[in-house]
């Protein structure tokens, strides 16, 4: 049944080739773009371990000569916890997911050449487990009596206990099964693990060791400090200005130089990936439209050019369904031709993206997805012109042009 179709197509070879080329390039770009979009999405959707939507983060900077960090932290936390809508509040010098923080290597013992593991570390206060909404797989959070308060920045004490993520502890103690009670070291300072965090992200979302996090009970001497505030569900956005204003008004020896919801902070950290997703989605959408236009254009042109032939076929007994079927078949043939070339192009493009840039090799599952998109697109695009062809009256055949 394809032979007459092929011979009809050969009368407008250029038109058919052009559309097939569009389908081929579009397939290659769409499949690779979809693949990148899905990868970035997976990156953004990773489990942070935290109740990101219900946290407000604030940073303050004590500038006055009489600024008293320890007093300020106590007063601020008391005030914040009493604010309506606030569930809990903690001191934390740096903010998870924000792109700024501290990291260091910890060792399983005091020797210089033991295998170390890197981690984001946060100095914070005991309610932090509730504030961040992190899950403790074992052990407990630290207690108020374990807090270290640094008043003399030249002679700071180091915390004696910590809670840490399972990922970090597994890196540091590869053979252990129980981590509570283990001691790790920062220099000569031993720190006992009192709790294991199931999962939590640190500060730099692009860092390989993002899941390695250590929380320790300490309020440092300032003048920079910060707070993490857990709000009731859905209240973070609304409370943000209130929190900022209350903190600004309560103490004139410091400036609130940063206040944002954790959601916004995370969005900003992923803004490059989001931008890529948006850009690629636009490319995909426009490609679909343009390719569909190409298919419609060619089919419409063919219907117009073959009006007389279609009328003749109808006059000698072809049904409307036959005409429809003919154009569907012709279009399927064309689309499939484009797809065959397109699959090759897809892999060529992916090969370049993977060798020249650090993109991964294509997941083969995306190719059939792309093929079905193209087939569907071709079918939808040809519907209109094919219907118009089927409506051509057999009487056309009898007219002289």
């Amino acid at each position: 049944m394809f032979r007459p179709i092929l011979s009809a197509m050969s009368r407008n070879k250029t038109g058919a080739t052009l559309v097939a080329m569009q389908i081929a390039i579009a397939l290659a770009v769409i499949v690779n773009a979809l693949f990148i979009v899905q990868q970035r999405n997976a990156l953004i959707q990773r489990d942070t371990g935290m109740a990101v939507d219900e946290i407000i983060a604030v940073r303050s900077f004590g500038f006055a000569e009489n600024y008293d960090q320890q007093g300020a932290v106590d007063d601020d936390l008391l005030m914040l916890r009493n604010m309506p809508g606030v569930v809990s509040a903690d001191y934390s010098r740096s903010i998870p997911l924000s792109g700024s923080g501290s990291a260091t290597s910890f060792r399983p013992d005091t020797s210089e050449d033991s295998e170390s593991a890197q981690a984001n570390y946060y100095f914070t206060t005991p309610d932090i487990v509730q504030t961040l909404g992190i899950e403790l797989a074992a052990g407990r959070s630290f207690r108020p009596d374990e807090m270290i308060r640094v008043t003399d920045p030249d002679n700071p004490d180091y915390p004696k206990v910590a809670i840490a993520t399972r990922a970090f502890l597994a890196d540091l103690f590869p053979d252990a099964t129980e981590y509570v009670g283990k001691t790790f070291y920062s220099g000569q300072n031993g720190v006992e693990v009192v709790g294991v965090i199931e999962q939590m992200h640190g500060s730099w979302v692009t860092w390989d060791e993002l899941n390695n996090v250590v929380l320790m009970p300490l309020i440092d001497a300032g003048p920079v400090s910060g707070y993490l505030i857990r709000t009731e569900q859905g209240a973070a956005e609304r409370l943000l200005p209130e929190v900022e204003e209350a903190l600004g008004a309560s103490n004139r020896t410091r400036l609130i130089n940063f206040a944002q919801t954790m959601k916004d902070i995370a969005d900003r950290s992923y803004s490059r990936d989001r931008g890529m997703i948006v850009a690629l989605s636009i490319v995909i959408a426009l490609l679909v439209i343009v390719t569909a236009l190409g298919i419609v254009g060619l089919a419409a042109f063919n219907v117009r050019a073959r009006t007389k032939q279609i009328g003749t076929r109808r006059a000698v007994g072809a049904t409307r369904g036959d005409i429809l079927q003919y154009f569907f078949a012709e279009n399927w043939l064309l689309t499939t031709g484009g797809i065959v070339v397109g699959v090759v192009l897809t892999y060529v493009l992916n090969y370049y993206l993977a060798t020249l840039y650090s993109l991964s090799r294509l997941d083969n599952l995306y190719v059939p997805v792309g093929i079905f998109i193209m087939w569907g697109l071709g079918f939808l695009a040809v519907l209109g012109p094919a219907r118009r062809a089927s409506l051509i009256s057999p009487a056309v055949a009898t007219r002289t042009v």
Binding site: L18, Q22, F63, G187, R272, M276, L353, S358
Partner: protein, 437 residues
């Protein structure tokens, strides 16, 4: 003749307005998309200081941990220096200018109680900084070289800070309270936003420039609030300021300027000799791995352009190709639809050349229209990028060169797209089309 062809082209476009609009729209879409990605790409790969990019050099000394290299690639040295090395390199002969620097944080406390205190980003650097990087001054100028040793409390303000605290007047010689001390204003600089912020790429490539500039030498006399990145290794106690200064922590950027680009080689030898001498003192445990990179090398080393942008440029040109294939199809159908007219013209004596010229003018017209519309689309796209994408606020602006290349891409690609259809109509034998009717 051109005028006549132009009139014919306009008339022909008017005859099939939908198809004409579609062709123009397709070219505009393709051009718009590729211009947006190309503009971002060229802004990122642009030279932030073309006049001097070959004589300004970032200095790297590998003083990192002997157990693990700084990077997976061991030939990559850390981007910052220790305080000890920065102080020593300030005295190393060779450069005509040199500047150590780091990012600090200060609070400006206004004398007038009506104004609120302002937390500002500070750059602690040497006086040469302003000369090296061609920083434009409105009032005053750099501080003198002796202040780089005496750490006299002087400050250079940006236009914004000067407007806020001095009402935009010439504030040179006035004083301003920064943190706990008073500083004398040495100068006020005009808007200066090199993109990328090549002299300090540690906190993003399009970081905000700082609001105030103060002498680097101040840090030897007491603790300062630091911004920026600090990387330490080893198990040193750095809680005391003096211990921190003498530690292996990396946190200072160091730039030099030479008279001639080739002075770099001699300087690199000096640098290696310095490192070897430091090894005698028990420092610098890693193998020699020093680098002196000019601005372009420095930006390339940091891969400022970013893979995503390069990938998008490639994909957007593939999109342009699809648009053009589509446009070729439409042009072909349109031109072939005019076969009868062309047959008549040919029969009346028009040469193939005349037909060709007529259609190329028509195609060029479509291309120009597509280019203008595409330019509008790309301006819209760039506006959206600036508004929506964090870090691109200062980045993307259409300049004359880009406008020219947009029109250029549009006209060239539409002529390429139109060549085949045009050639095809010229091949039509006139007789065939006169017979039937």
């Amino acid at each position: 003749m051109f005028g006549y062809n132009l009139r014919l082209a306009v008339a022909s476009l008017k005859r099939s307005p939908v198809l004409s609009a579609l062709t123009v729209g397709l070219i505009a879409l393709g051009v718009g998309m590729s211009m947006v990605t190309l503009t971002i790409y060229s802004a990122m790969s642009g030279d932030p200081i073309p006049a001097k990019s070959d004589v300004l050099f970032a200095v790297q000394v590998d003083s990192w941990d002997p157990r693990t290299p700084w990077d997976d690639d061991p030939s990559v040295a850390p981007p910052q220096l220790t305080y000890i090395d920065a102080m020593n390199l300030r005295d190393l002969p060779g450069p005509v200018r040199r500047a150590a620097m780091f990012k600090g944080v200060y609070t400006i406390i206004p004398d007038s109680p009506e104004l609120k205190p302002d937390l500002v980003g500070a750059r602690m650097t040497d006086g040469d900084f302003f000369d090296m990087f061609n920083v434009p001054f409105i009032y005053g100028g750099r501080w003198s070289a002796d202040i780089d040793d005496t750490a006299e409390r002087v400050v250079v303000l940006t236009r914004r800070i000067n407007e806020k605290f001095f009402g935009g007047a010439n504030s040179v010689g006035e004083t301003l309270q920064l943190g706990t001390e008073r500083f004398r204003v040495a100068g006020v600089i005009d808007d200066w936003e090199p993109t990328p912020t090549f002299y300090d790429l540690n906190n993003g490539y399009f970081d905000d420039t700082q609001d105030v500039f103060m002498p680097f030498s101040m840090l030897q006399f007491g603790s300062l609030s630091r911004g920026g990145n600090t990387n330490c290794w080893g198990q040193e106690d750095t809680s005391k300021w003096e211990d921190f200064l003498n530690s292996n922590c990396l946190w200072i950027q160091f730039w030099v300027e030479f008279d001639r680009a080739r002075d770099r080689d001699a300087y690199l030898r000096e640098l290696d000799a310095y490192t070897v001498a430091q090894k005698e003192l028990g420092r610098m445990p890693r193998p020699l791995n020093n680098h002196v990179m000019n601005v372009r090398e420095w930006l390339a080393h940091h891969e400022v352009v970013g893979e995503d942008n390069t990938v998008l440029v490639g994909l957007s040109f593939l999109f342009l190709a699809v648009c053009l294939f589509n446009a070729v199809g439409i042009l072909l159908a349109r031109f072939m639809g005019k076969s009868t007219t062309i047959g008549v013209r040919r029969a009346l004596g028009a040469s193939r050349g005349a037909i060709f010229r007529q259609h190329i003018v028509e195609v060029g017209l479509i291309g120009a229209a597509g280019g203008v519309l595409g330019l509008a689309l790309s301006a819209l796209g760039l506006f959206a990028v600036r508004k929506l994408q964090h870090g691109y606020e200062h980045l993307v602006n259409l300049d004359a060169g880009l406008i020219a290349s947009a029109i250029g891409i549009a006209v060239v690609s539409s002529i390429v797209a139109g060549l085949y259809p045009t050639w095809r109509v010229c091949q039509l034998p006139p007789a065939t089309y006169l017979k039937a009717q």
